[in-house]
Amino acid sequence: MNSEAANQRTQAAPDPKPDKARRLSRRVIPGFGLSMGITITWLTLMVLIPLAAVFIRTSGMGWEEFWRAVTSRQVVASYKVTFGVSLLAAMTNAVFGFIVAWILTRYRFPMRKLVDALVDLPFALPTAVAGLALTALYAETGWLGQLFYPLGIETAYSRTGIFIALTFIGLPFVVRTVQPVLEDFDREVEEAAASLGAGRLRTFVSVVLPALVPALLTGFALAFARAVGEYGSVIFISGNMPMRTEITPLVIVKHLENYNYPHATAVACVMLVASFAMLLVVNLLQRWSESIGQARG
């Protein structure tokens, strides 16, 4: 534990005396040591060591048992549900989130401000409350369930239910990444395209859309990453049937309830690696997005 933690610490801590830092060590603004000390200590204790615990526990369990734990039928079924439905939800959010960002920045309509404010609701509303509300709404007797069940669409206690919950919690990401880029977008470029004879659709597809792609992908990746880890809202609406509507975080919880800590940890390890990979993708996308912004800037 200690070596790993120490290793993590040196990674997080910036090299204390690189050239630039040494020059700036007689810096004018005080408090570098104190604020940096608090930041790094707190991050190490609260984030790095606990995260390392998952990996170290996993590394102690032997390859074969690990493999058995992370590829059991129930777990593999849960990956399919979690990643598959998260992907669908993120794609839905990419499409509708784009439309929402577009109408909020480009059009004026009654109660636009209120609609704009409402977009952040999934950030502020506790996930358990969201799950409860969506279940009430989409259950067979709910306001919206009543519309779908006669059509043969089971909106609650099914994968559709999981899809609804994951769409809800991922909703703000695409809107809030695309919106600022769209606001900064130079309308004169569009005017130039139009004056050169491009139709509105052509202008949109070959002038506006390319500039928005990095932001759109970033929002998509954020919504996807958020959906993959989601637990609270899903367990209310999914029905939690093993092999069918069980998400991977729930599998971890069930392992824990059976005191099967090694298997819970192994599955958690797989999820963490997936999350970190997505975080990396998001960072790369944002860098790409910024470089485009600067090039155009």
Partner: protein
């Protein structure tokens, strides 16, 4: 991740009326079609769930609604939630101020790595957040099992574990709200204060803090809303023992699966009000900022 987003969401200036410039505007029917689709999507996924909570909470009458808040377990869960927030928000406030100060007022190598580590809690599933602390502090399976048992300290299935998990989940929020505000503020005013002879703390208290007070306030409120609403991480570490380690979101789940849905929705409505108030505050602060920019 949420922080990245909240940072990005500056208030949109009202779009100029596009009808005058037909070449760069969509036909009216497309405009209204898109507005209908966009608003319709939000109504189905955001507005109706919010309305449903209050409808379900009140549909069996106001008396039953208020009876929920006389149940001793509900009261205990409310106290528990308030306690957890009272522990985790100040800790993350101190951390957020320190992190934002270090990141925005100084130039150093490895800054982007530090910011990435700061964002890690956004990327980790809440369930895994809970699991991490179980692996360390469980008295049966944890790394520290023996010393904790010997000292008779219970962290998992008790308040300290719930607080730890909540601190982890809400760790980036205040820092993430402060960093863009402090970045926009720059360092000039601090330089001026220090040149005029103010000490470090005095500069911080009389120059920096007043400049970022609204961002800080919103960060605290958002952090508080998330701390009170956290479910997954807390569910894993608390054991959800009614009347002992149950918080409001956990007790909502208990009530719901015990078929006391009116009571579940009554408690949920309180947390929903908190969420709505948080959003209202966010918009108020953005409106103030936009007005200040307009004046300047």
């Amino acid at each position: 991740m949420a922080g990245i987003i909240t940072r990005a969401s500056s208030p949109p200036p009202p779009a100029p009326a596009t009808s005058a410039r037909a070449a760069t505007a969509e036909p009216a029917w497309i405009r209204w079609l898109l507005i209908t689709i966009g608003v319709g999507f939000l109504v189905f996924f955001l507005l109706l769930p919010l309305v449903a909570i209050f409808h379900e909470a009140f549909k069996r009458g106001v008396a039953l609604y208020f009876a929920t808040f006389q149940d001793q377990y509900a009261l205990h869960a409310i106290r528990m939630t308030l306690t957890v927030a009272a522990i985790s928000v100040p800790l993350n406030l101190l951390f957020g101020l320190a992190a934002a100060w270090a990141i925005t007022k100084f130039t150093f190598r490895g800054k982007s790595l530090l910011v990435t580590v700061l964002d890690l809690p956004f990327a980790v599933s809440p369930v895994i957040a809970g699991l991490m602390f179980v692996l360390i502090f469980s008295t049966t399976h944890g790394w520290l099992a023996d010393p904790l048992r010997n000292a008779d300290i219970q962290i998992i299935f008790a308040l300290p574990g719930i607080a730890l998990a909540t601190v982890f989940i809400t760790l980036p929020f205040i820092a993430r709200e402060l960093i863009p505000v402090m970045q926009a503020q720059g360092r000039d005013e601090e330089y001026a204060a220090l040149t005029l002879g103010a000490g470090g703390w005095r500069t911080f208290l009389t120059v920096t803090l007043p400049n970022v007070k609204w961002g800080l306030f919103y960060g605290v409120v958002l952090c508080n809303a998330r701390a009170m609403g956290e479910f997954g991480a807390v569910a894993v570490v608390s054991g959800n023992i009614k009347g002992r380690t149950s918080t409001m979101p956990l007790y909502i789940e208990t009530l719901y699966f015990e078929y006391q849905s009116a009571a579940a929705f009554a408690l949920a409505s309180v947390l929903s009000l908190l969420a709505v108030a948080t959003l209202a505050l966010k918009n108020f602060i953005e409106w103030r900022a936009a007005r200040a920019r307009f004046k300047a």
